[in-house]
């Protein structure tokens, strides 16, 4: 969707832009200003300011000082930063493939329009729409190692030592991942259902007549035809996963226990700017800028490799 739009845009930019209408410029400015002013102040200025601040040391009280690349070299030598980067990668690698695959399976099922499909779709989609922080609170209780839903059931069926989930350095991150999948899946389903609308039924039936089985029809017809959707789902959920913060903060009462097992890149950014005794706005900005570069790089890489496996009709 955004991909094809960008391509169309670049094509238009390369050619001569179509005719302008006399007087439209001034009217356009008036129509654009209410949107443009906040956009410039908070987004455009924000991105450049983050970049500039990342070379400074500033606590909002004293005057800022230029420190060159110190913030970046400090980050790369900080064990905690390496850990939060690792956690964020593991989280993303857990959430993106699983939520994409499960959503595709569910969408294929829902697309059969079996009885109650609408109710089922509503159920799958509900987590995406709910307040993240409140839903995380519910999951903190679900994960409670004594009386929570999962462990009390595990005890009841005779598992002697069920995982301590958020209290365990091993299980805390998987607990976050499960929550992430739960939250993301409905959104992906909606996109896949839209993508499946574009799959020609006649083509599937023709293949069926020619003796292609379910798997062959899926593998050689459906999957290639919905590859733009799959591509889009992967990009959007990768970018989203890299921003993971709210759920980790809420489930651990803002402490990212045990031993930062659930701390993330954004969690680190937040702590350095707003929790540590002196606000390290420069260092936090360096983290933010790295996050931006990373998201940008992922998007570019995915656009580059899509040629191999995405078929636009």
């Amino acid at each position: 969707m955004i991909g094809s739009l960008l391509r169309r845009l670049t094509r238009r930019l390369a050619g001569t832009d179509s005719s302008y209408r006399r007087g439209d410029g001034r009217v356009a400015l008036l129509f654009l200003l209410p949107d443009l002013i906040p956009f410039l102040a908070f987004t455009v200025l924000g991105v450049f300011a983050t970049f500039g601040l990342s070379f400074s040391r500033w606590d909002l009280v004293t005057t800022p000082s230029w420190v060159g690349l110190d913030n970046y070299s400090n980050l790369f030598s900080d064990d905690l930063f390496r850990k939060v980067v690792r956690n964020t990668f593991v989280y993303t690698l857990g959430v993106v493939p699983l939520s994409t695959a499960l959503a595709l399976l569910a969408a294929l099922g829902l697309n059969l329009k079996l009885p109650g499909s609408l109710v089922l779709r509503t159920a799958y989609f509900a987590p995406y729409i709910t307040t993240l922080a409140a839903a995380a609170l519910v999951f903190q209780w679900v994960y409670d190692p004594r009386a929570g839903l999962i462990d009390s059931v595990l005890y009841a069926i005779g598992v002697p030592n069920p995982p301590e989930w958020l209290n365990s350095t091993f299980w805390a991150l998987p607990a976050l991942i499960i929550f992430g999948i739960w939250r993301q899946i409905g959104f992906n389903i909606v996109l896949f259902l839209a993508g499946l609308q574009g799959v020609d039924r006649n083509m599937l039936e023709a293949a069926s007549v020619d003796g292609a089985g379910r798997w062959a029809r899926f593998r050689y017809i459906t999957l290639p035809l919905i590859s733009p959707t799959t591509f889009f789902v992967v990009i959007i959920s990768t970018i989203g996963s890299f921003q993971v913060f709210d759920q980790a903060y809420v489930m651990t009462n803002g402490r990212f226990y045990p031993d930062n097992a659930t701390n993330t890149v954004v969690g680190y950014l937040f702590q350095k700017a707003f929790v540590s005794s002196t606000a390290e706005l420069g260092l936090s900005s360096a983290v933010a800028w790295l996050l931006f570069l990373f998201v940008f790089a992922i998007t570019m890489i995915q656009f580059a490799v899509q040629r191999r496996w995405v078929h636009y009709g």
Partner: protein, 285 residues
């Protein structure tokens, strides 16, 4: 070209497949809904029941008082009103700013239009957290920490909403406004009398996304709000957790109070949400 074809009756094998798939879908939907069910059940349990080590799935007796208790211990009403004010202002703001900008992008021909729109689109991939620090500094210097305007300002315009409306406006045929132009109507009239009424479905999507996005926002209120009286609902409920020994039944009552309105909006407006996502490939977050 739609082809009429008679439905072949399903073979026994196909019917078995369909039943198996349906059962799987139902099981998955139940699993996904389980946390909500557990939340509501826990919210009306007694302290003894909720602390019990054996799973308690049926509250006995149903203790509705938990809701009253939460309401008394916490200024839930206050949080609720704060969330409503902030989400309301952001929603109205985005409808105005985004629809006007979308009109310019879709109906006016001015130099640099494509370039400016490409610039808008490019920022869609920038996570909010990337601009968090400068936004905080800006709000700090405006003296807007701990104010409604501090909560509202960064979200008063939205590239996503502008994008969504522009896509929709492009699909509205030109005939009507050309007639209006011949009658001497200016752009403001065309925008407010022709385009806006026709754009109701897309505006509904913007309203819902803006409202839910604001209602769900956690990081920004966490950063700019200290005072109890200005906390939004998610922030208030979550910070309640830290202040007392954890009473899960009360916390779940609080969570229900903040989630149920959102779920209600979703059930009522599901169609627009799904259409909005399909139109733009994004949700308003």
């Amino acid at each position: 070209m739609p082809v009429l074809r008679e439905r072949r009756p399903l073979t026994a094998r196909q019917r078995a497949w369909r039943i198996a798939i349906w059962l799987l879908l139902v099981a998955g939907a139940l699993l996904v809904s389980l946390p909500f069910i557990y939340m509501v059940v826990s919210s009306v349990e007694t302290n003894e029941q909720i602390g019990a080590l054996t799973p308690q799935f049926i509250p006995n007796p149903i203790q509705w008082d938990n809701y009253a208790t939460v309401w008394q211990q916490l200024p839930v009403g206050r949080f609720f009103v704060n969330s409503l004010i902030v989400a309301g202002a952001i929603t109205v703001g985005q409808v105005i700013t985004a629809s006007m900008a979308a009109y310019a992008f879709s109906r006016l021909r001015f130099p640099g239009r494509s370039l400016l729109f490409a610039g808008y689109l490019a920022t869609l991939i920038i996570p909010f957290q990337v601009t968090l620090i400068p936004n905080y500094i800006l709000i700090h210097y405006l003296g807007w920490n701990n104010t409604y305007q501090g909560l509202i300002a960064p979200f008063i315009s939205s590239v996503f909403s502008t994008f969504l409306l522009r896509q929709f406006f492009l699909g509205i045929p030109n005939d009507l406004e050309e007639a209006a132009l011949l009658d001497g109507a200016g752009h403001w009239i065309i925008y407010s009398r022709v385009i806006m009424p026709l754009a109701r479905p897309a505006l509904a999507a913007v309203v819902i996304f803006a409202f839910l996005g604001s209602w769900n926002n956690f990081l920004w209120p966490l950063v700019v709000i200290d005072s109890e009286s200005l906390k939004t609902l998610p922030l208030g409920i979550v910070e309640f957790e830290g202040e007392y020994t954890i009473q899960w039944n009360l916390l779940m009552a609080g969570a229900s109070l903040s989630l149920l309105p959102v779920l209600a909006v979703y059930l009522a407006a599901q169609r627009w949400i799904v259409e909005g996502i399909t139109l733009t490939g994004q949700g308003g977050r």
